[in-house]
């Protein structure tokens, strides 16, 4: 419907557009700055006034993935660098002594992120279907209980979980962290998926039941395909949460199962924090989430509010 009395005038649209664009650019600046810093030399990264035009280098990325040690000029002369990254490092009379721990921390993030996502979506789908279609005793209370688990400050449960995990040997293990993140994500998973499944008409399953399907078959062949997009976006929200989580990760892991968020701030260079390396790590870590956000923008609101608000 155009030309209604409620439509904004072109001037209003222009004015609104410019204000929003300014806010968006200001918001984006710190992010662009992170990405740019990853391609600077340490000297450029701390130049004042901040350098907008600079000679890009991959030093930050090389530093992120390797540990280096200073070598005598004789050693450097006797062992010339072979690869492009060795050449970057050799400029500082250094040679690569081995990989840094960033790679394994990143891998931990992937294992724990995807593991807990799979589990929480799997359990969440079952529970959401149960709550959506059956008369579960104390249904409302159980649903509220599930939601309320999200209100607990992570630090508050961390103490007994720390003790509990130590007793059963789950501390600092992938399995322990996967279980923990699954539990944390379940509240969102159940609530979101229940919303999606509620929207699928019950008649479809009833028709399937009459056609001779069992409950499980009807669930698998009728409900799951219908809920696929809902399940996919729930999965991405669970993944993003597990990916970004910090409090549990820093309290309950120390080495084996440490994820990237507690690790990135600990990247130290020669004189304090190695900002290009930190920026490189941050960029690699933030990039998947940025891409997901662009894909998810239609479902965003539902996901972040557990489906309490629909657009």
């Amino acid at each position: 419907m155009s030309n209604t009395v409620t439509d904004p005038t072109p001037t209003q649209k222009w004015f609104a557009g410019i204000l929003v664009a300014i806010y968006a650019i200001v918001t984006l600046l710190p992010l662009l700055w992170i990405i740019a810093t990853g391609f600077k030399t340490p000297a450029d990264s701390i130049a004042y006034p901040p350098k907008v035009a600079f000679q890009p280098t991959l030093e930050g990325y090389v530093n992120l993935f390797t540990t280096r040690t200073r070598q005598t000029p004789e050693f450097m002369a006797a062992n010339p660098p072979h690869t492009w990254y060795e050449r970057i490092v050799a400029q500082y009379d250094m040679s690569i002594v081995g990989p840094s721990r960033f790679g394994s921390r990143f891998l931990n993030s992937i294992i724990i992120g995807f593991g807990s996502t799979f589990l929480s979506v799997f359990l969440g789908t079952l529970a959401a279907y149960g709550f959506s279609r059956f008369k579960v005793p104390l249904k409302d209370d159980l649903l509220f209980f599930i939601l309320s688990t999200r209100m607990m400050p992570p630090i508050a449960v961390a103490i007994p979980i720390f003790l509990m995990y130590r007793a059963v040997g789950l501390s600092d293990t992938h399995a322990g962290m996967i279980l923990l993140y699954t539990a944390v994500n379940l509240s969102m998973s159940v609530w979101l998926l229940k919303g999606f499944i509620d929207e699928i008409p019950v008649e479809y399953e009833e028709a399937a039941l009459i056609d001779g399907y069992t409950r499980f078959q009807a669930f698998r062949k009728v409900v799951l395909p219908q809920a696929a997009t809902g399940i996919a976006s729930t999965a991405i929200f669970c993944l993003i949460f597990a990916w970004n989580e910090y409090a549990f990760a820093v309290l309950l892991t120390s080495g084996q199962a440490q994820t990237a968020p507690p690790f990135i701030p600990t990247i130290i260079g020669v004189g304090g924090q190695d900002w290009p390396a930190v920026a490189a790590g941050a960029t690699l870590f933030l990039l998947p989430v940025m891409i997901f956000t662009i894909f998810l923008r239609k479902h965003l609101l539902r996901g972040i509010t557990f489906g309490a608000v629909r657009k």
Binding site: V136, L186, P265, L301
Partner: protein, 315 residues
């Protein structure tokens, strides 16, 4: 068979008949679906909570396993509630909560209101604005410390450019007066988009016809804004406050990485204080009582608030 036919058939056939034949009753199936979730949540949320409550009555210390654990009754609670330092952290948390909510509602609602003009490119700008809240608070906090560096940081440079103050003359996170604001700024940067999205949903839920009717009655724009827009968006705004309030009450990651509670203890919010008691001083029993108090506070405030929210919704 048309879908209408299926629907009619499904409604007219009593569903119980089909199910009873296949063994499992609906009740059993419901439990198979729901039980795993409940069991996991009991194991990883409720069991630890009960354990925390039990520990809160003792003087247990994790780092002294050989010491005899004494039952101290309510002493931990008494110590916490009479400790001026704890009240100080509560104040820091309240300050943080109030100002982040204030700015996020103000800016978030304004942005949503502007975006609702549906100008060209509004989708693109919205997506850009939404990016920060999807990022890892730990990594974001760590990087903002770089932006806040007095000599080299982008933030100080920008402030110097706009106001003309010397960029190296102030440090956002090292200064007792500025540090709380440094956190408020980053939290606002990160979470304003959340409030904006909820407000946008609220604005879009208002039917055009109401405004058209108001227009017929020759109500001024100002009047329309206060008598239609605000009341219709209010439940959404309250929901945004609830979500942000709970999250910021238990805020840990951003503050830890930005200031770690310092300088002094000006930004020592409750979560960080609790982490110090539990994992640095290892006063496990004391920290458990602290955790219980925090949880009861969040839960209590949230329950009261949800009641108010429902009343507004029903209006």
């Amino acid at each position: 068979m048309s879908s209408v036919g299926i629907d009619k058939l499904a409604v007219s056939t009593p569903p119980e008949i089909g199910r009873r034949i296949r063994g499992l009753s609906d009740r059993a199936i419901a439990w198979i679906f729901v039980a795993p979730t409940i069991v996991l949540l009991l194991a990883i949320n409720i069991f630890p909570l009960i354990w925390t409550i039990r520990l809160s009555f003792t003087n247990f210390r994790v780092n002294r396993p050989n010491e005899v654990v004494k039952w101290v009754g309510l002493a931990n609670y008494e110590n916490i509630l009479t400790d001026p330092d704890v009240w100080h952290t509560m104040q820091a948390t309240a300050h943080f909560l109030f100002w982040t909510l204030f700015f996020q509602i103000l800016i978030g609602f304004s942005l949503a209101w502007l975006i609702n003009r549906k100008f060209k490119g509004s989708d693109l700008w919205t997506t850009i604005i939404v990016l920060p809240m999807m990022l890892s608070p730990a990594v974001v906090g760590n990087f903002w410390t770089f932006l806040y560096q007095p000599q080299i940081g982008l933030f100080n440079y920008a402030v110097a450019l706009v106001t003309g103050v010397d960029a190296s003359s102030f440090t956002m996170i090292g200064n007792v007066n500025l540090a709380p604001w440094a956190i408020v700024i980053v939290d606002t940067w990160m979470w304003t988009p959340f409030v904006m999205l909820i407000c946008l949903a609220g604005l879009r839920s208002i039917p055009d016809s109401i405004y058209e009717a108001a227009e017929c009655d020759r109500a001024s724009n100002w009047r329309q804004f206060w008598t239609i827009t605000i009341p219709m968006v209010l439940p959404f705004l309250m929901l945004a406050v609830l979500f942000r309030g709970i999250e910021n009450f238990k805020m840990f990651d951003l503050v830890t990485l930005l200031t770690g509670g310092g300088p002094g203890d000006t930004t020592l919010v409750t979560s960080i204080n609790l982490k110090r008691e539990a994992f640095e001083k290892w006063r496990t029993g004391y920290a458990s009582a602290y955790a219980v108090i925090l949880f009861v506070t969040i839960y209590g405030l949230a329950s009261i608030y949800v009641k108010a929210l429902n009343r507004v919704k029903q209006r």
